[in-house]
Subunit: 332 residues, 2 copies
Amino acid sequence: MKKFLNTADSFLPDALAGLAAAHPDLRVDLEARTVTRARGATENKVALVSGGGSGHEPLHAGFVGAGMLDAACPGEVFTSPVPDQMLAAAKAVDGGAGVVFVVKNYTGDVMNFQMAAELAGDEGIAVETVLVNDDVAVQDSTFTAGRRGTGATVFVEKIAGAAAARGDDLAAVAELGRRVNAASRSFAVALTACTTPGSGEPGFDLPEDEIEVGVGIHGEPGRSREKLRPAREIVADAVGAILDDHDLASGDEAIVMVNGMGGTPLSELYLVYGELASIFAEKGVGIARNLVGDYVTSLDMAGCSITVCKAEEPFLALWDAPVHTPALRWGV
Amino acid sequence: MKKFLNTADSFLPDALAGLAAAHPDLRVDLEARTVTRARGATENKVALVSGGGSGHEPLHAGFVGAGMLDAACPGEVFTSPVPDQMLAAAKAVDGGAGVVFVVKNYTGDVMNFQMAAELAGDEGIAVETVLVNDDVAVQDSTFTAGRRGTGATVFVEKIAGAAAARGDDLAAVAELGRRVNAASRSFAVALTACTTPGSGEPGFDLPEDEIEVGVGIHGEPGRSREKLRPAREIVADAVGAILDDHDLASGDEAIVMVNGMGGTPLSELYLVYGELASIFAEKGVGIARNLVGDYVTSLDMAGCSITVCKAEEPFLALWDAPVHTPALRWGV
């Protein structure tokens, strides 16, 4: 294993200390394992809290800031955070208007966020939960009952975060988040496995001429293992899987993300985006907004995921609203 | 070799087509191999043109946009663009106030940009050149007489770009760019080699327990090959090499970039930043601004570089000025 780290055990706190040093407008509580906005709770604003296993950076801590998340709870690498983290985050950022938990659909996350919601309720904090389950690759998987939650998390956090920032109430922010998730589909392909600091070994074996199609963000198996093929064909299959499951029709518009898993050069992601854009153009589906880059990674995995969200009203206006986080920033 | 590509030969045009599809505010001329702002030349504004071998994305095309570059000339992977590209770019973006070429110090780039400057001069375009040579690792190297140009390119392009945007004249913009370069130092460490689409093989062999210290952005050898060590020690050596060559003193402020080479997870880059921040704190040198992420990559290389620029007047104000490019965006 070749990584920039001191010891495997100190990897997460050391990385969080670096995040704190780089972004003084974030407050990283190494004890409580929470990342919040340094300015604290915003009175009367619905607060968004997310979290999940580490190893997917910039998700989630990289999306904490004005117009997006109020707090993130980083678990150990590929491991759900615990309810105490989520409770601490909710208490730190609740401004009296309630808290929305954005939860990727993995069994541990779902269970722990549910427990945290109950604990927060006991303390008088109103909580709504938005479950993200956009990955069309498999129905159930290693860590999931039902579809996995992946790239749509970024869309939910951005759009619901903008709604909270403009003053929408708890029910409205949560409902909007659920609508974004319902309008989104994702599919991922891995060229290589990833290596966790703890294990020091690749999570699975993938021969030099094979790819994992429909892979999960922890390297969970997907639909099939196939021979490496031209990008055009891989993208066509991934987009096909998404559109087969989606009601996007000619004349519709979408928000699209081509996301690198951590070890894929940006040039390849643009190449993938170009193939995707050709397919969308053929189908008459417009791409109103796009992201191309590393947003939901799997440590050093070479691979990419595609996420497509139908641009229903009022998604685009909220997408365009100002955001100021380490990983997404515009308008400020 | 596992990459998202169609054929090795079409890698660059396919990636550029994707860049064009993703960013309608850029104009990608696949024939002339230039990337310019779609709005064309800005009258009476000094235009900034850069370029170099591809494989370092987002450098340079990802920095084309308001407040930074007016044009980029992507060469083949790890190969200098040709003078015709640079001339075409200069003609496309000159608004009558002249053009600054930002040139990384590699023999091919220097020669070709010099020829382009002469050709542009013949056509009545005033050209100034800013040579970037910030890498303290080695004096001469595989592709260079003198120090290599690396991360400081981003600082030069941002700060000189902001000066051009506010209306500084040709001599002033060029002089500022030279000052930024003179105030900057970089040092890089590779954990793995990178693989070009053309060769299909890693550019060099690096055993599982060794790192290349002082590596160049094409995988050129550095100062030494060493055993993998804790990040804290690697960062201390890299920062030491930079500060040994720099006049930064206690009480000074710096702009710092921790840059991933393409295959390194963001969490590791933050960990590196944290170690760097501790060293700077001990030395009493402030970090006024920072970038942590992939800005000057070497395809899929795992590794990182550190760039430090002394924050002389008026660097910070120009750094903070609005920028709107695919890879750097704030204030708009």
